[in-house]
């Protein structure tokens, strides 16, 4: 039985090699001593995570995706609108509202100018809010895309759409697609790691699910409480040496059985047990950030033993250093329907320093060229005022969900720093120049990793599925 259908590696060749091996060995399969050799040969053919090259040379080896759950306001951080400030609290002209969908607001809609102060930074002159002093300092490394738009206006569907190219659950996340396309550079760690600060997103595990791809490609949460990977620790009262003996016994029994029944799945299983064992040391070693220098810890604002976005940024660097393909950071509580100025400031304090430190640190270690960093969210926020929280209680001014134009930034991994791409109208309702659909963003990310989004397909339910459905354009203007 083929367990992993349609692998983008030459399985036919691998099976041929395996057959050759059987022939050349000239030995009966009953020989246990043969086990490990046999196992290696079979494993090479079967391992869906073995590293492989993409469709063309890659500009980035890894991606660190910083996802702000709940959607920060682009109008208060990156896309200043003086006209909006000028017309603050005026009733919004109808012409801006035609055909537009909002999640919450309705009735008489008023414009809401930003309370942020903006300044231009770096040689590129990016306008950045004073809420983000650290990021302002690395402005020239960032490529701002002000014209992203999406299809969904509610959090869970939009989060799922951003990750899987489809607004409902069941399809693979982009990280799973990359793992499927490229495998892993590190056989002791998963290819796709998820780090969370704050509670999990509304869409839960469906944003890092492998969907219909084999589950080996799912995103693996590394947790800051309990076991960093579920079930990583040996059971209490059973020391590591004892568990090693169990593993050895399992390995030799599996080899005996492999020799008897000849199913290559058993060879794969043997190797997966060895990888599990290696993870038991590689993951704790990775999570132990107290071996970083004080300077590094201070750069990020990371504190060993604490669960924070800062610690996660530092872990992200450690993960890509070790060859992990995709690291995704989720930070929650960015859904500011009310009291946006204050709450946004507080959230910026959580992430500004660490996100900037990540760029600086990757750069000083020569990793930024190979690592694509993305900062974004499922959608943006309205130029219109909302003055209530989710339950309808009155609050200071906030903003509703906005799917038609929002900002993300990218850095490193083949991206040209200092670029500002796309623009929006005087109030920030619509894209006026260079629109970028979520499918375009995903196509571009795959491209930077050396994958052609039209050729990275998986046949399921009669269709050749893609991350980008039937669209997506690669944004070559962003490239270095």
């Amino acid at each position: 039985m083929t367990l992993i259908p349609n692998l983008p590696i030459d399985t036919e060749k691998a099976i041929r090699d395996r057959r050759l091996f059987f022939r050349r060995s000239g030995l009966s399969l009953g020989s246990v001593a043969l086990g490990s050799l046999l196992q290696q040969s079979m494993e090479a053919a079967n391992n869906p995570l073995s590293a492989r090259s993409g469709h063309f040379p890659a500009r980035a080896k890894s991606v660190i995706y910083l996802h702000m759950i709940g959607a920060p306001s682009q109008l208060d951080l990156f896309d200043p609108k003086p006209d909006l400030v000028k017309h603050h609290n005026e009733v919004c002209p109808e012409s801006f509202l035609e055909g537009r969908r909002f999640a919450f607001i309705g009735g008489e809609l008023r414009l809401a100018g930003s309370q942020s102060t903006f300044a231009k930074h770096g040689q590129s002159g990016h306008s950045i809010s004073s809420k983000l002093p650290f990021l302002s300092k690395v402005a020239d490394d960032l490529c701002f895309v002000h014209s992203l738009h999406t299809e969904e206006i509610n959090h869970a569907p939009a989060q799922i759409f951003l990750h899987t190219g489809f607004g409902r659950g069941g399809r693979p996340s982009f990280g799973s697609w990359v793992s499927y396309g490229l495998g892993s550079e590190n056989q002791d760690l998963p290819a796709y790691v998820v780090l969370q600060s704050g509670p999990a997103s509304g869409a839960g595990s469906s944003t890092y699910s492998s969907g219909f791809l084999p589950s080996v490609h799912q995103g693996i949460p590394f947790r800051s409480e309990g076991d960093s990977v579920l079930y990583l620790s040996n059971p209490k009262d059973h020391p590591a040496e004892s568990r090693r003996r169990v593993l050895d016994a399992v390995g030799s029994l599996n080899q005996v059985h492999l020799a008897d029944v000849g199913d290559p799945e058993i060879a794969t299983r043997i190797n997966q047990y060895e990888m599990a064992y290696r993870m038991q040391s590689s993951v704790p070693e990775l999570m132990k950030i107290d071996d970083e220098t004080t300077d590094t810890l201070e750069l990020y604002g990371a504190k060993p033993g604490k669960a924070s976005f800062a610690n996660n940024c530092l872990l992200a660097r450690r993960l890509v250093e070790r060859g992990v393909r995709i690291v995704e950071l989720y930070d929650s509580d960015w859904d500011h329907h009310g009291n946006i100025d204050k709450r946004l400031s507080a959230k910026c304090l959580d992430v500004d320093q660490a996100a900037a430190a990540l760029i600086t640190d990757l750069k000083q270690r020569g990793l930024l060229d190979d690592t694509l960093v993305i900062w974004g969210s499922e959608f943006g926020r309205t130029p219109l005022a909302q003055g209530s929280d989710g339950t309808g209680k009155k609050t200071e001014i906030g903003r509703d969900h906005h799917k038609d134009a929002f900002t993300v930034w990218l850095a490193g991994g083949g991206i040209q720093g200092g670029v500002s791409y796309g623009s929006t109208d005087e109030f920030g309702f619509s894209v006026t120049e260079n629109p970028v659909h979520v499918h375009d963003l995903n196509a571009t990310v795959l491209h930077l990793l050396g994958l052609d989004h039209e050729r990275l397909t998986f046949k399921y339910q009669g269709r050749e599925f893609r991350l980008t459905d039937v669209s997506g354009h690669v944004m070559t203007d962003w490239f270095a």
């Binding site: 039985m1 083929t2 992993i4 983008p8 030459d10 099976i15 022939r23 246990v32 999640a103 206006i153 509610n154 569907p157 409902r168 659950g169 069941g170 704050g198 999990a200 997103s201 509304g202 839960g204 595990s205 469906s206 791809l213 084999p214 589950s215 080996v216 947790r223 309990g226 990977v229 579920l230 079930y231 990583l232 040996n234 059971p235 059973h238 040496e241 004892s242 003996r245 169990v246 593993l247 016994a249 029994l253 599996n254 005996v256 059985h257 008897d260 029944v261 199913d263 799945e265 299983r269 990888m275 599990a276 993870m279 929650s332 039209e454 050729r455 397909t457 046949k459 339910q461 269709r463």
Partner: protein, 984 residues
Amino acid sequence: MQKLTFPIACLASFIVAFTTPCRAAERSPEILAKEVYTILNRACFECHGPTRQDGSLRLDSREAIAAGGDSGSPIDSDEPQNSDLLRRIRLSKGDEEVMPKRGDVLGKREVNLIREWIARGAPWSDNAAKETHWSYTSPKKPLIPSLDHNAARHPIDAMVQARLEQEGLKPSKVADSRVLARRLFLDITGLPPNPSEVESFASEAAIDMQTTVESWVDRLLNSPQYGEKWARPWLDAARYADSHGFQRDDLHEIWAYRDWVIQALNADMPFDQFTIEQLAGDLLPNPTESQIIATGFNRCAPCNVEAGTDPEENRFNQVVDRVNTLGYVWLGSTLECAQCHNHKYDPFTQKDYYGLFAFFNQSELEADRANPKVPGSIKFIGPYMELDRQEGQRENVEFDAKIAKAKTKLDVAIKKEKPSKSEVQSSSSVRILKPLDFESKSGSNYELLDDGSILLRDDNTPDIDTYSMTIDISAGPVVGLLLEAMTDPSLPGTGPGRGDSARPNFVLTAFEVRAVDSSGKAIEKSIPLTDAKSDFSQDGFDASKAIDNQKDRYGWAISPKFKEPHWAAFHFANPTDLEGTTQLNIQLIQNHGGARSIGRFRLSAIAENYSEAIPNSPTDSPQIAALRKSLATLESQRDKKPMLKTLVMRDIEQPRMSTMYSRGDFRSPGDSIAPHTPAVLHRYESSGSNNRLTLAKWLVSSENPLVSRVVVNRLWLEVFGAGLVATPEDFGLKGDLPTHPDLLDWLAIEFVENGWSQKQLLRTILVSQTYRQSSKITPELLDRDPNNALLARGPRVRLSAESIRDNALAISGTLSLKQFGPPIRPPQPDGLWKKVGGEQYDYQVSPGEDQFRRGVYVVLKRMSPYPSFINFDATARLACRVNRGRSNTPLQALTLLNDPVYVAAAQSFSKRILEEVKTANLDEQLAYAFQLAVARIPNVAECDALRKLFEFEKAARDSSTSQSDAWFAVASAILNLDETITKE
């Protein structure tokens, strides 16, 4: 209707198609042309056919091929090797120029056929283009090949072996009888046999294998565990889960539907009826409760209740989900492309899609805004049905009778021992104070009753509340205040609390008194109180906590003495504080949360002699205390019984108009459309009404060419690990061709002729020799047929996630076979259910045997599914899935090694070994343990490995626990074997 037939030539072509290239030369030009047409149709016409001509090239007619495209003619019959078509289909996947551009490259056989076709002058068959795709023609009963030897008497074996003979292969020998016993158990009940069952199977099989298999299959098919094992794949297809999905992923009750599936399978409900009841049980004449429960199938579609969601968008998406699911489950067809446009390769139009959509378009909204103007007010409102469970009812009646009896007993005892409570009130030194005004901080409505009490009236009790009122005390001396918390029939559970009918408690977190000055304003500083007394206080919630000046969640409360009146009295610390005051402001602060506030209360002044007016807090005599306790136990037992209800399908009374939707967008309705079925399939007859019932009947009509093949194929897939059609969800043009088309059709016809009996169908397969073969893979077989498509060996398939857990529990002796009811919660790591949005649940492990029940009962919260199942390829059931993947990952190893569920199983397993074979020697004990897991007897090498582990471990560990540690290591190793989690 056009009667579609299945041409014999076509059937023959399938058989030929799988033969080796050396036979290919024997193909007639007509057959060669047809085969090549099939390949081109699947791989090329999407971009080089009637709708698209990339590179100006068309490949769907003789003339078009001759005309060529932008880069000239694709074929060169004189120099076949120079043909561009041949060159490009031979490039490797991922190459810039490879054809087909998307999807898999063509196989070797297909490339060879095209090479031969070009070399032979590219013969063309106009008939091929006119032929209907195989799956849209009715199954035809094949001729059963009669083989020279009489070994293959079973039609399955005759067909499989005929095919193997063509390939020059031989079937494998029969499997070891112990291994076969385990295979049968796992396939029918999903559980392993116990050693005595294995031994009796083996000894019977040694005498007569065929009879033994038949009798055990019959026996196992009658096991109540059969339905639990076979419900799992159906529930995957039905996307059954215990929560809505999306951000507000609240739990919902639909487990009665899951139980219905298990029961229907156990009863071997014919598949046509099984279909009709699930899709449209509510529309049957005088439907039974069970038939309505069955419609939960439709209600398994995820429901988005996230604040701000458009209810119509959610409804539209649910209908889309129902149509797509119907396509996969009954038609083996991917309809979903046609939501936005005509299907690109299969014969389904967008109109067909919305014709099916219309059947499902009449159901009630499942999420709507409580206030149409407030988008955040969206709530789950989908229809439930309360269950009329005979069993449960009898229990309830019994409970109520017991409770009533206990109450009477208690009342009698209290009356005997104590003065009635009204004596407090009748004391001459107490006078009622009618409030002059009243306000609830949360804005609750209230009523001042004639007896001077205030009754709160509101359907939605706020989480916390503070009551504020003014009283006049000028009528006489006051030394303290009496607060009575009273019952009332209008309160939930009659009160005195107002937030919970089962436990109508309240928590008075603070009782504050302020003087009111001449302007009518309460002064800032409160008047200190002391010496609180009450008739009863809950443990830790003494009345004194209401006057302790602590701003915490504690105060006066009355659990478990609900549903009866209570009182508390407070004394002024310095009577001089009241001098010159005529009015007091009283605040009852109730900040505990959880709507624990008083529903009805009354204030009175205590005039003098506080200690005499107020009796000491009564303490219960031992007799009364005992009676109270037994009453409280009975009540809590009854309250813990879950409300029995389940999600069901219900249509609205005023039908909606159904329309097309441009580009599949719910905001772009187009032309109106009537319910109808796809034109390419058999005729749809409606007897007046056009609804889910007529649709369901159409699906299981004997004329439907797809349904019986699709169902048979799924069942085959569960047994053999792969279907006869390797793409069980897609029998269309892009789906795989059947490996054994004759066998598929024979099974499909048998299935219908046997009254759609799934048990009979399974039996037919399991008693064949094909099933009984050893699953060992020789190097030759691995080379020739790595996927076992030719069935030259038995199935070797890793178990499903649920089965892996069920097996470990069964092997360890801890599995509970308790059936049905609300979902259970096995241990899982802390914190997994914490997330943004929706209700926050505290994950409590099910008590007692419940946590050891089978996986089919494990709670499935869609946005945080049980991780150990996900690690073994279970899905979050967000969409229909008819074929789970089977991956092989390090997380699976970590799960089996370290998940506390498997660690506990290993511990129990090690104890079981010692208990059951206490007196045996070590090798016998190890062999017994091995057999518990995999049924067969270990060989010498295996024995050695286990013994080595045991002895090393024993020597290495502390002497006091070395024996049990060593057995734990052995048990853990055995539970982790590839063989233990594999059906061999």
